[in-house]
Amino acid sequence: MEYGSIEREIHVDASPEVVFEVVSRPEHISQWWTDDARYDVAPGAVGEFVWGDRVQVVPMRVVSAEPPRLFSFRWCHNDGDVDSADSLLVTFELTPSGSGTTIRLTETGFREMGWEEAKVAEHYLDHSTGWDTFVPRLGDYVARLVSAP
């Protein structure tokens, strides 16, 4: 049973600076993934991803934060120990591409810990924060973001 790492690429019509903010800042992550996220965007910072009313809390550690080209973190640590290397490493690499940005996502460390992530995914299916609830919210969210000082 060998399950390789996940690798994805997607083109985004936004500058690397904007994309970096969206992939790295906790207030953004809680828009595209978790229900809440708390951490400093700084290498070594320890924080957490939260689903529901703290029903599921997953510790994480920021590995790299090099705006506007690289953001990576570890999560799904074995036994919740954020010092453990036995965890999943998620990396966002951003490359300028035309007037936009190519995001290259990788998630490695999968063979052992992938089961843990799948378990989280199974309990908190992305569908629950899927397009139906998400798209109507986005307009308000961006309006708030842009009007903020």
Binding site: Y3, R8, V18, A118, E122
Partner: protein, 113 residues
Amino acid sequence: MITAVDDDLWSAVGDPTRRRMLDLLLADGEGTATSLSVRLPVTRQAIAKHLGVLDRVGLVHGTPAGRERRYRVDEAQLARAVAQLSSVGAAWDSRLRRIKLIAEAVQRAKDIR
């Protein structure tokens, strides 16, 4: 939708020793607690216990073989577990689509300003 069966399936495959046992059973076609204990740093008794867990969730099936039971992997049930795992890749696809949507909306808003 989560069922109790899925929870049990997850905890059954969530253990590294049990996953190594599945690897060995798949490679060899079949095995007993004794044959597996020779190749893993775990006692025969512990292996027998793990086999019991795997058997209860249907990942392996045992048939009597002398004083022991001989186990084979249920590939259909294993495929089901693996399919759940592959949903992790699909989950990243939808996260990336949302990242794209948010970043492009932020960019458009900035451009208008």
